[in-house]
């Protein structure tokens, strides 16, 4: 049953590999590096499909968690083939890291000379992020009717945030709407970027990786390559949109703006962006290498948005702004986008619930016997959700610490160890230290790349979905 679903998902991967093959044909590039993986993926998918039984029983929670976790591993295994066949990445570890970084929309790269890669390979690299952004399961729910029966379980396991919003009573309809909005915004961004003078191929790639909050660029210098305020602002705006709960975007498209601006998570999300931008702008302006107010504001805004949405695009080296800016940038990495967005990290709603609950704790100190609920959007939040959110945040931080210890044990400096871990766990991309915005992950030891790949998956699936598989209770009858 689990294998059958994985097999059917491989058809989807082979479809997108086929799209990349077409790109290779268009640009007259060697085709075999893409057509061979397309066929392998298709054949193995078909083999799995015909050698498993038809779905007879309902998929349970356990199978749901297993499928969602495995699909990222399987996709990354097959998705790394083009890099290997093309020869652009010679080591399997590196290829797997690059692909997992793509599917999890992390955007951490081991490539030192991105412009030298064939366009078709770059396209595949961007499309891994676009697929991973909305999620393979959500995608398949929209496409494959057979998953409908177990849809909700898979949907909950994959969609980020403490609760999964439904735009439609039927999961399949919800998934269709989500992919519709996602595609629509991607197309609009392509048009706007192309109108601003970015070449068509780059517009497509950057739009894919913006909406996925992925951060892969077709340029080694990332968005700093484009010395255009227009392009940088367009990308900033679409990063902000990608970091908003897609349910809210859906309401906005239906012109129900009240639902959007009355949403507390949205307000805090915008508030955090404004506050951090104000702080970083002040820091840059007070620096010696001040290059004009608009540029300082734009750099600050772009970096804040890129980090809080966990996109990881770069227009400036935030580590060059001094240690205060570095610590603030580092702190922003823990925030993350909104629940139900493509952004990674802890997520704004959890941070908000944390602060609200802390304030309620003070009240509880003074009135120990009163029942004082936490309210969000004027509704009392179930105490179970509060406990879950707090447990998640602490677990997240512990995973970060444990990961940093492991990376430090491989010889990384403390700041690089912490930077590489939060950049992976938060699905951001660039971190601090030796994996800062001007560097990449090429020099991380191989074992470290596997650890970071695992952290990317943990972060993308919000810890519990993956971790539960490693607990005895999961396997208990």
């Amino acid at each position: 049953m689990v294998f059958r679903i994985l097999a059917s998902l491989l058809f989807i991967e082979s479809f997108f590999l086929f799209l990349s093959t077409i790109v290779a044909i268009i640009y007259s590039e060697p085709v075999y590096a893409l057509i061979v993986p397309t066929l392998i993926t298709f054949v193995i998918g078909a083999f799995g499909w015909f050698n498993t039984n038809k779905a007879s029983k309902q998929i349970g929670k356990r199978e749901g968690y297993l499928i969602v976790s495995l699909v990222w591993v399987v996709f990354s295994l097959f998705g790394s083939l083009p890099f290997i066949f093309d020869g652009s990445i010679t080591s399997f570890t590196d290829a797997f890291f690059e692909t997992m970084s793509g599917f999890t929309t992390t955007g951490a790269s081991i490539l030192n000379d991105i412009e030298s890669l064939p366009k078709s390979i770059l396209f595949w690299r961007s499309i891994t992020q676009w697929m991973g952004g909305m999620g393979m399961i959500v995608m398949s729910l929209a496409v494959l009717p057979m998953l409908g029966i177990a849809g909700m379980e898979l949907f909950i396991a994959e969609v980020p945030g403490p609760t999964a919003d439904k735009l439609h009573p039927r999961v399949k309809e919800t998934a269709k709407r989500l992919w519709g909005i996602y595609s629509l915004f991607t197309v609009i961004e392509i048009i706007l970027l192309y109108a601003g003078g970015m070449d068509f191929f780059d517009s497509i790639n950057h739009s894919f990786t913006t909406m996925a909050t992925g951060g892969y660029s077709t340029k080694q210098a990332s968005i700093a390559y484009y010395d255009s305020a227009y392009i940088q602002y367009v990308i900033t705006i679409f990063m902000i949109i990608a970091g908003v709960n897609f349910s809210l975007s859906y309401f906005a498209l239906k012109l129900k703006f009240e639902k959007v601006y009355k949403n507390e998570e949205f307000r805090y999300y915008i508030g955090f962006i404004l506050i951090f931008t104000l702080i970083l702008t002040t820091i840059i302006v007070s620096n010696k290498n001040f290059t004009g107010f608009e540029k300082s504001f734009r750099d600050a805004l772009f970096q804040v948005v890129s980090l809080i949405t966990t996109t990881g695009f770069v227009t400036a080296d935030y580590l060059a702004w001094g240690s205060l800016a570095a610590i603030i940038s580092f702190s922003i990495m823990f925030f993350g986008g909104s629940a139900g967005s493509t952004g990674g990290g802890i997520k704004i709603v959890r941070i908000v619930l944390l602060f609200k609950n802390s304030y309620q704790e003070f009240k509880r100190l003074l009135h120990p016997n009163a029942i004082i609920p936490v309210r969000l959007n004027n509704k009392a939040v179930d105490p179970k959700i509060i406990t879950n959110v707090l447990a998640f945040i602490v677990f997240y931080i512990l995973t970060f610490v444990a990961g940093s210890v492991v990376m430090a044990s491989m010889g990384l400096e403390i700041d690089s160890a912490m930077g590489s871990v939060i950049a992976s766990l938060g699905n951001i991309g660039p971190g601090i230290g030796s994996v800062g915005p001007m560097d990449n992950f090429a020099n991380i030891p191989n074992a470290g790349k596997w650890v970071l790949s695992f952290l990317m998956m943990l972060g993308r699936l919000e810890l519990f979905t993956v971790m539960i598989i490693f607990t005895p209770i999961f396997w208990k009858k």
Copy 2:
């Protein structure tokens, strides 16, 4: 009312200042630096006492939090006078920092040449820690009958840990027993250290600061000064005892050993010490500068115990053991002693509850409608306590992050900023970076010393007690 209690507590401080005066007389040192503060404290205490009305009404929670917070500030103000009058510390900021560091049992020092100080000043410095270890309120509860009426409120606000154990239905009796055990262990340690060849004066001082998990030493080199395995093991054992819930020590003294070894927090506390010692020993042994197995084990054990109990004594430079050892040491700083001990930090029981709850979260994922309680010592823990513990841990980490940002904004490197903050907030003493075990806090900017002093108080009173005073709900009628 609040003033009257503070005034009465000043009598206690003046009594201990008087003890230090006697030490000055014994060692024929200038007496005025101690007798003048003794008199000032006594006179102001008396003035406050006679100009306030007798306790008429019950002390409420609000007054309790206010008193407990203010007493540390007031005590540090008066307690810094000997350093200033003696001239051993010339700046008021430094003197206040050193005294707050004493009363909160942090042990972070700005002194560069401790051996040059008069013995009476060193004695006062050690006694601030001894007073702060068990807590001024707990002390006064044992001594001052007038506080009896509000005792429990103050007791809860001051005693560390999520719940306050009562050894006796009457608060006053509980306080008496706690101080009795505390004094008894201090005396035993004095005898054992003296028997091991430490001079009598140093034995007293080190016993005071061991049992308080304070970490002030009469030697610049701290315990590394004593090249005696016996002395180092004795101090290690008493640090371990000081980090145990004093209720358990009480049971142990009554020979109810079963209550001790069946206590889950105690088991985890010992378990964490053993595991971390094993890891650090392995690291030291595999280092190039390996100097024998016993010495490596002793250094590792001493450092682990010193950090987990938040004492802060030093026998070796853990930063010289490589970046992995540094990160592990840094992580241990977040643990802290047991609830109801003199140790600071997050406390073992909170860490244990956190892990237990996280495991239950997995179960809740699979059975969302079941009520799955967290159990400690075979009893279900109230979900309110779980929420409080989780909120505390996250708040602790946030305070740590915010503090690090502030310290970095004053020009400290990232590791020094984080090191100085956790060393203060956790009431440890030495941190990492420029405030590591071989350095001190003298070079921190003045503003930074005030921030760290505040963090020490926050940490000692476990955040909420102090923070609640700064919330609007506290002042609302």
